[in-house]
């Protein structure tokens, strides 16, 4: 099936065409976008329902948020450098940049888990108020995506080790992960703007 469509599109456009695999992954990302859209809608409705519990002013601080944002933003550009190396077929460079991206992503997830653990220990867990339920659902869904991305990065690093060139199939995997990783950074922009910063106004 996949080959059939490839042949068709290749016949259509002589030079090159985006792989149907990458397009399929793009469609998945768009559906993921709808999931996040629903969670943002829920959060927007419940953001002031504190039930006498803690408010964003008491819970959030600029320091941790800034660090998390910085880690994710830097990891976006390091992945980009990895992609550039991949297009030049420099495999050791690709593995190096993927490793850096992995560590930055791991730092992000670590900070987030620490923040959640701290909040829950203080009695501000997801069961405290509607606002906190919506907050934990939205932010941990994003964190879960980042964690899946980390596993994916590791998998590709292992698959790249010991190879001497990057076949088209591998390139497609790297491109899909690139889209995924940058997409998560875009979701994080909305999270830190509308969930954290808007709550601290």
């Amino acid at each position: 099936m996949a080959h059939d469509t490839t042949v068709q599109t290749a016949g259509h456009d002589e030079h090159h065409h985006e792989s149907p695999v990458v397009f399929g992954f793009w469609v998945y990302l768009m559906t993921d976008c709808i999931i996040f859209g629903s969670l943002f809608a829920v959060f927007a409705v419940l953001r002031n329902q504190f039930n006498g519990g803690p408010t964003p002013h008491e819970l959030f601080e600029f320091g941790g948020l800034g660090l998390e944002t910085a880690l994710l933003l830097v990891s976006s550009i390091t992945y980009g450098f990895g992609m550039i190396a991949a297009h030049k077929n420099q495999i050791s460079q690709v593995i190096l940049w993927l490793g850096v991206t992995f560590l930055l992503g791991l730092g992000f997830v670590g900070l987030e888990v620490r923040e959640f653990a701290h909040m829950i220990a203080e009695g501000a867990g997801p069961d405290r108020s509607a606002f906190l339920s919506a907050f934990f659902t939205l932010v941990s869904t994003h964190g879960l995506h980042v964690s899946c991305g980390l596993i994916w990065i590791l998998t590709l690093m292992v698959q790249l080790m010991g190879t001497t060139e990057i076949p088209e199939r591998m390139m497609n995997k790297l491109t899909c992960l690139s889209l995924f990783w940058h997409f998560l950074d875009i979701v994080w922009i909305c999270v830190f703007s509308y969930v954290y910063l808007a709550g601290m106004i």
Partner: protein, 124 residues
């Protein structure tokens, strides 16, 4: 046609390698990533400053945050996800526009209906 089919099969990669830049011209360069990164950092810092300095009214701050977030999303889409108007990305763009419209209706509609319901039930 047959030949091309063979070239596309998993085993035929070495044959393909001369024309293999196939995931598109649009994979960016070091400089385009750096430009995107600098823009993103500036916009992020501005967002943080707008909130931490309390220089605007609450509504003004929210409006400024929304603008900054929108611009930063566009910067990311252009410099990191390499979206553009080329014909090979046409279907990606169509999907994207549909999703943006869908999510906008979802969020605006939800907020509108729920605010209205709350007002009528006077449960504020």
């Amino acid at each position: 046609m047959d030949l091309r089919f063979l070239l596309r099969l998993p085993g035929g990669h070495d044959l393909m390698s001369t024309q293999t830049n196939s995931s598109g011209e649009s994979h960016g360069s070091v400089s385009s990533y750096l430009i995107g990164f600098v823009l993103a950092v500036v916009l992020t810092v501005l967002s943080f400053l707008v909130v931490s300095t309390h220089s605007l009214s609450p509504m003004g701050t929210l409006a400024a945050l929304s603008m900054l977030a929108l611009v930063q999303v566009l910067v990311h889409l252009h410099y990191f996800l390499h979206m553009g108007g080329s014909s090979e990305q046409r279907w990606n763009n169509i999907c994207f526009v549909f999703t943006v419209a869908f999510v906008t209706i979802l969020i605006v509609g939800t907020v509108f209906i729920m605010t209205n319901t709350t007002m009528h039930m006077m449960s504020r």
